[in-house]
Amino acid sequence: MIEHFSYIVTVFLMIAGLYIVIARGNLIKKLVGLSIFQTSVYLLYLAPGKLLGGTAPILAPAYGVYSNPLPHVLILTAIVVGVATLALGLALAVRIREVYGTIEEDEILALDHRIEEAEEQGEERRA
């Protein structure tokens, strides 16, 4: 149980994040969920790369046990991607707030629906 501790945390974060993305209608909260979801992946990669008592990979006879550096490098990239996604998502949320006046998904859908109805009626009137 204890040796799988990191996996349990990972899976919990993964499911929690995904649940928030799906269940919440607020655009910002969705992004929070998305970030948690992505964070779980960072853990998934990093945890197995850690060796108890391992050091940084230094090529010297004194340091026989070292952690695999590759997952760290990968996750550094993944974090950059995650930050970029979050920034873009927030920027979109701001723009949506500007034009729709709300960041609740159901209200946005209702507004769009109203536009579509108005368009149709306008076309009928013209016809």
Binding site: V41, L44, L74, V81, L88, R95, D112
Partner: protein
């Protein structure tokens, strides 16, 4: 010939360079020239690679170690027949769409953000090319995110405010998909200790039934299916295609989903191997049924759309069904049908959405926002925009699969594969679904050719030559690749022959 050996790197670097340069120079016109030149350079590179691969024997590939770090430790770029075909498609579509983009972008995107638009376009292109050419699993994810993030921005630049909501939605679903993919890659990395796809494939055989590998397969399948808009994971697609700027729709519809299919083929056939994917798991059955649902449900929905862009967006979901159906057969002809349809459908959809962009330009009133191409505004348009409308009809015939067009070739192989698999009823299903394509195309034909324009919508002039000529090149392509198939079908058959075990 040192340049020739570095073509694989140039393939990605050239368009990648054009993007930051475009941002630094902060000028719309310059950015257009730069990124378009980058795309054409990428196209030339792709042709060069194509010729190089052509000299190799079947199944051989060009391997390029990035930074001279030898694989499997360093990142490897790898070009075989299939890679080369997809590179040709992506870079060629980008070059033509960008060349045609000026007039449409002028109209649909605020002038002050033109340079950013082109920079994003360049990034998106570099990302798609990178996904295709790389042989490193994590590199696939990185390039996937480069192309995805830039495509979210491109979609959000649409004039309609619904474009923002569509882009947001795509961002959420796309990121979930990409994260699923990276989870799958993570499992594979944990189990095999390598990121190089070929190395991974070599090591996976011994542990292929272990639970992490199965989980990896599941995560990758779902993640890539989200990206390629496999029914029912396609909900992001219709709105994104409908409200994005016309040229963006043309480019993404022609390339983005196709590259995802390519990734799926790579993972299924080159990494996991057919014995796991097709023999031990019920994946082919699942994929077969989802494909059938896509072919019918999405095509049927398309018939009732009033917005031409949305109509063809749903048609794209339906057409993806043909591609995944071909995959599910696990035979040379089936996979060849998928690959050749990926190519043919890319060209036809690129032509269609470009020409629809032309339609929007043609019916736009000076000074006002570009209108939606809804059917009541298209009535009688064929008289005023004959070339645009004829082009849409011809490219549409390729979607139906009329003989003489590229679509027929794909359908022929798909049906042949269905017969070989001993499921003749699928022949009927494929043909019936192409009748749905006739129905939605003919809605356009009747409105554009046989209706008279509604009062107040009589105006409309032919799209500018800068748009018409590239679009018509693509239209001619749909005919050309229906008659001379040595490029498309030839390489599809060769690629399928070296990927599928029964062909080896």
């Amino acid at each position: 010939m040192s340049l020739a050996t570095h073509l694989p790197a140039l393939q990605v670097v050239l368009p990648l360079l054009s993007a930051p340069l475009a941002v630094l120079l902060r000028h719309g016109g310059v950015a257009f020239v730069l990124v378009t030149a980058g795309a054409w350079a990428a196209f030339a590179t792709a042709i060069g690679l194509w010729l190089q691969v052509g000299q190799l024997e079947q199944g051989a590939f060009i391997s390029y170690p990035i930074g001279s770090w030898a694989p499997p430790w360093g990142i490897e770029y790898r070009v075989d027949r299939l890679t080369s075909l997809v590179l040709l498609l992506v870079s060629g579509m980008a070059a033509l769409v960008l060349t045609a983009s000026r007039a449409s972008v002028e109209r649909e995107i605020p002038r002050e953000s033109h340079y950013l638009f082109y920079a994003m376009f360049g990034l998106c292109l570099a990302g798609l090319l990178g996904i295709t050419i790389t042989a490193d699993a994590f590199n696939v994810f990185v390039f996937l995110e480069i192309s995805s993030l830039s495509s979210y921005v491109l979609i959000a630049l649409g004039r309609d405010r619904r474009a923002l909501a569509a882009a947001y939605r795509y961002l959420i679903m796309g990121t979930i998909g990409a994260t699923f993919i990276v989870i799958g890659i993570g499992f594979l990395y944990l189990m095999t200790g390598t990121l190089n796809l070929a190395d991974m494939a070599a090591r996976i055989g011994a542990i292929e039934s272990s639970r992490p590998v199965l989980a990896a397969l599941a995560f990758l399948t779902v993640g890539i299916s989200l990206k390629l808009a496999l029914f029912p994971l396609h909900q992001w697609l219709p709105n994104a295609y409908t409200y994005a700027p016309s040229v963006v729709t043309a480019f993404l519809a022609a390339t983005a989903t196709k590259v995802s299919v390519y990734v799926l083929i790579r993972f299924y056939f080159s990494v996991f191997g057919e014995s796991l994917v097709f023999d031990k798991l019920p994946l082919p059955q699942i994929m077969l049924w989802l494909s059938l649902f896509a072919m019918f449900a999405a095509s049927f929905t398309a018939i009732f759309q009033d917005n031409l862009k949305r109509l063809f967006a749903y048609s794209s979901v339906g057409q993806m069904g043909y591609i995944t159906l071909g995959l599910s057969f696990d035979s040379v002809n089936g996979l060849a049908a998928s690959i050749v349809h990926l190519f043919n459908h890319g060209i036809a959809k690129g032509a269609l959405f470009l020409l629809i962009g032309g339609l929007v330009l043609g019916i736009a009133k000076p000074g006002s926002a570009p209108p939606t191409p809804s059917f009541d505004r298209l009535a009688g348009l064929a008289k005023r925009m004959p070339l645009t409308c004829l082009g849409i009809v011809i490219a549409g015939l390729s979607l139906i699969g009329v003989p003489g067009t590229a679509g027929f070739i794909s359908k022929w192989y798909l049906i042949l594969a269905a017969l070989e698999s001993g499921q003749p009823w699928l022949v009927g299903a494929v043909l019936l679904s192409s009748l749905l394509a006739i129905a939605y195309l003919w809605r356009f034909v009747e409105v554009a050719y046989l209706r008279s324009p509604a009062p107040g919508h009589e105006a409309g002039t032919e799209a500018p030559h800068s748009l018409l000529i590239p679009a018509w090149l693509l239209v001619a392509g749909t005919i050309w690749f229906g008659l001379d198939t040595s490029l498309s079908l030839g390489s599809a058959l060769e690629a399928a022959g070296s990927l599928v075990r029964s062909g080896r």
